[in-house]
C-alpha cells in the first residue's frame, strides 16, 4: 500500500480571488502538502503581439498600456525606448526627467496595489484601505497630467504627448514630502506583526541559483540575493543622474519580497524627489519632425504642422531595417520589447518580454512541498498581472 500513494488533485482557479486574474493551478496534494503544481495560463490571451504587427508604430503604443494594466506608463516607456533605439532618437533632458518621475510614480502606485491585495490575501484587510488612499493621490496626479487613470499612453516615441501642467511639480513635491510617513504606517501594520511574519517567513523560498536559472527578474530576484536592476545595470532615461539604492533580500522567501518592495517604494520616492528638484527647462520632445508629431497648439494654428500631424497619424513613419531591444525595470521585473523592422511603417515582429510570465514559471518550484494556504502567499508575493502573462 505504501508505495501506491494516491494524491488528490484539485484545481485552484481559474476564478479564484487570490490568483489576481484568471489563472488556474492544478495542484497534486499529499494531505495538505503540495507534491506538484502545474499552472495553466492563456485565459486572457488577446494576441497583442499579432495585433501590433497590423498597426503603425504610433498606434501600437496603445496596446502596451493593456499588458500590465497597473503599470501603463512603464509599459509605454519600455516600448518607446525600443522604438528610439531602433530609430536612433535622443530625448531631451526634460523629457527624460519627466519620464522618470511618471514611471516612478507609477511604480509606487503598482506596489501599493500589490501591498494592499497581497496583505488582503493573507488576511490583513486594513492595509488595503491605507494603500488605496495613497494610490488615489498618485492617480489624481497622473490624471491631471495624462488625462487617464489606467491607460495613459502618455509617453510617446521621442518624448511625451505634451509638457506637464504648471501645478504638477507642486503636487509631486507635496506627495514626496508626505509619502515616507505613509510607508511607516504600512510597516507598523505588517513588518513586526507576528501573524504576518509567521505567514511569510521561510515560505515559498527560491534559491539564488534557481532564481537565475528561471530567469526571474525584479523584486523576486533581488529578494533571493541577486543584484540586478535594469536601472543600474543598463541605465536608461537618465537614471544614472539620481542617487538611489537597490534593496536586497537574503532568504528569497515571501517576507523578503515584501521587504524589498517596501524599501523600493522609499527609493522610488527618493528618485522622484531628486528629479522634481532638478527638473530642467526646455523641450520635452526630440526634434525629429519625421517621427515625432508636432505640438497640439501648432496643429491648431499652423497648416504645415496640421499636415505633418495627419501624415504621421495616418501613415506613421518608416524606421530603418534592423532590430532593437529596449527594456525598463517595471515594478514586476525586466520588461522588454524586441522590435524587428523591415523598413515599412508597421513592426515586422513585436516581441514583448513579459516579466510576470517568466516569474510565474518559477512558482511551481517555490511551492513544492509547501502547504495549500502558502500557494496564495506565494502567488501574491510574485506579484503577477495576468494581462501581461497572457498578452
Amino acid at each position: 500500500m505504501a508505495d501506491e500513494k494516491k494524491y488528490m488533485t484539485i484545481n485552484m482557479g481559474p476564478q479564484h480571488p487570490a490568483t489576481h486574474g484568471v489563472l488556474r493551478i492544478l495542484l497534486e496534494l499529499d494531505g495538505e502538502i503540495i507534491v506538484k503544481a502545474t499552472p495553466f495560463i492563456g485565459y486572457l490571451h488577446r494576441g497583442v503581439e499579432k495585433l501590433a504587427e497590423a498597426r503603425t508604430y504610433h498606434q501600437a503604443l496603445t496596446l502596451t498600456d493593456r499588458l500590465d494594466y497597473t503599470n501603463g506608463l512603464s509599459n509605454n516607456l519600455a516600448y518607446c525606448l525600443a522604438c528610439e533605439n531602433l530609430c536612433g532618437i535622443d530625448v531631451p533632458k526634460r523629457g527624460r526627467y519627466l519620464r522618470v518621475i511618471l514611471a516612478e510614480l507609477q511604480r509606487i502606485a503598482a506596489h501599493l496595489i500589490w501591498i494592499g491585495t497581497h496583505a488582503l490575501d493573507i488576511g490583513a484587510m486594513t492595509l488595503l484601505f491605507y494603500a488605496f488612499r495613497e494610490r488615489e493621490t498618485i492617480l489624481d496626479m497622473l490624471e491631471t497630467v495624462t488625462g487617464a487613470r489606467l491607460t495613459p499612453s502618455f509617453i510617446r516615441i521621442g518624448g511625451l504627448a505634451k509638457d506637464v501642467p504648471p501645478e504638477f511639480p507642486g503636487a509631486v513635491k507635496a506627495f514626496v514630502q508626505d509619502f515616507p510617513r505613509r510607508v511607516d504606517e504600512y510597516e507598523t501594520l505588517l513588518t513586526e506583526n507576528i501573524i504576518w511574519r509567521k505567514r511569510t517567513r521561510n515560505i515559498a523560498r527560491l534559491s539564488k541559483e534557481d532564481a537565475v536559472s528561471y530567469g526571474v527578474t525584479g523584486p523576486v530576484l533581488r529578494a533571493s540575493g541577486v543584484y540586478y536592476d535594469v536601472r543600474k545595470a543598463y541605465p536608461y532615461s537618465s537614471y544614472e543622474d539620481f542617487g538611489f539604492e537597490i534593496p536586497m533580500g537574503e532568504r528569497g522567501d515571501v517576507f523578503d519580497r515584501y521587504d524589498v518592495r517596501v524599501r523600493e517604494m522609499r527609493q522610488s520616492n527618493r528618485i522622484i524627489g531628486q528629479a522634481i528638484e532638478r527638473l530642467p527647462d526646455g523641450p520635452v520632445n526630440a526634434d525629429v519632425p519625421s517621427i515625432v508629431p508636432p505640438a497640439k497648439e501648432d496643429v491648431e494654428h499652423d497648416i504645415a504642422a496640421l499636415i505633418r500631424h495627419f501624415k504621421l497619424m495616418e501613415e506613421g513613419f518608416r524606421p530603418p531595417v534592423g532590430e532593437a531591444y529596449g527594456a525598463v525595470e517595471s515594478p514586476k521585473g525586466e520588461l522588454g520589447f524586441y522590435l524587428v523592422s523591415d523598413g515599412t511603417n508597421k513592426p515586422f515582429r513585436f516581441r514583448i518580454r513579459p516579466p510576470s510570465f517568466i516569474n510565474l514559471g518559477s512558482v511551481p518550484k517555490m511551492i513544492e512541498g509547501q502547504m495549500v494556504a502558502d500557494v496564495i502567499a506565494a502567488i501574491g508575493s510574485v506579484d503577477i498581472v495576468l494581462g501581461e502573462i497572457d498578452r
Binding site: G47, K50, Y338, R351, I358
Partner: protein, 170 residues
C-alpha cells in the same frame, strides 16, 4: 574594447567559422547553426570572463518568404559584464531546434510559447504543449500566413458537450 567586442572576440576564438556576426556595436547579434547552438550557448553561460548566466528572452521570428523560414533568438544577459547578447539560429518549416530547457529553466515556458505561436518543435523538450492557446487550437497564430482575425471568426463557436448528449446549440 567594450564588452560586446570582447564577447565576439571570445566567440570567434572558440568557434571560428561556425558563427557569423550580424551586428556588433552596443549589442552583439550572432547567428549559429543549430548543430552547434547548445555548445555556443553553454560556452556563453559558463565562460569565466563572460558568464551570460541569465536567459532574458527566447522568441521566434517568421521571415516569411525567406529560406529557412524561422529564426529562433536567445537573448542572454550577463550579470558579470553587464551586457546582453542575442544568439540566433535559423530553422525551416517543420524543422526542429534543440531544446535548451535543461540549461536554463526559463527556456521551458519560452520554448513552449515559441512552439505554440510558430509551430517550431524543440527536440527533447520535457513537456512541449501549447501554453497560451487552447490545446485543440488549429494553426500557429504568429506565423505571417495566419490571418489576424483568425480562421472561422464569422462562424459560431463550437460547443463541446458530453458524449451522447444532444447538441442543443446547433
Amino acid at each position: 574594447m567594450n564588452s560586446a567586442e570582447t564577447t565576439i572576440a571570445k566567440l570567434r576564438a572558440a568557434f571560428g567559422g561556425a558563427l557569423t556576426v550580424e551586428q556588433a556595436g552596443s549589442q552583439a547579434v550572432v547567428v549559429v547553426g543549430k548543430e552547434r547552438l547548445r555548445e555556443v550557448l553553454l560556452f556563453l553561460r559558463d565562460d569565466g570572463g563572460l558568464l551570460y548566466s541569465m536567459m532574458t528572452d527566447l522568441f521566434a521570428v517568421d521571415r516569411f518568404g525567406a529560406f529557412p523560414r524561422f529564426e529562433v533568438a536567445y537573448l542572454l544577459n550577463s550579470l558579470l559584464v553587464k551586457e546582453r547578447v542575442l544568439v540566433k539560429v535559423r530553422a525551416g518549416e517543420g524543422e526542429s531546434v534543440p531544446t535548451v530547457s535543461d540549461l536554463w529553466r526559463a527556456a521551458e515556458w519560452l520554448e513552449r510559447e515559441a512552439y505554440d505561436m510558430f509551430g517550431i518543435p524543440f527536440e527533447n523538450h520535457p513537456n512541449l504543449r501549447r501554453i497560451l492557446m487552447v490545446e485543440d487550437f488549429d494553426g500557429y497564430p504568429l506565423r505571417k500566413d495566419f490571418p489576424t482575425e483568425g480562421y472561422g471568426f464569422d462562424k459560431p463557436f463550437k460547443v463541446s458537450l458530453e458524449e451522447g448528449e444532444p447538441d442543443e446549440a446547433g
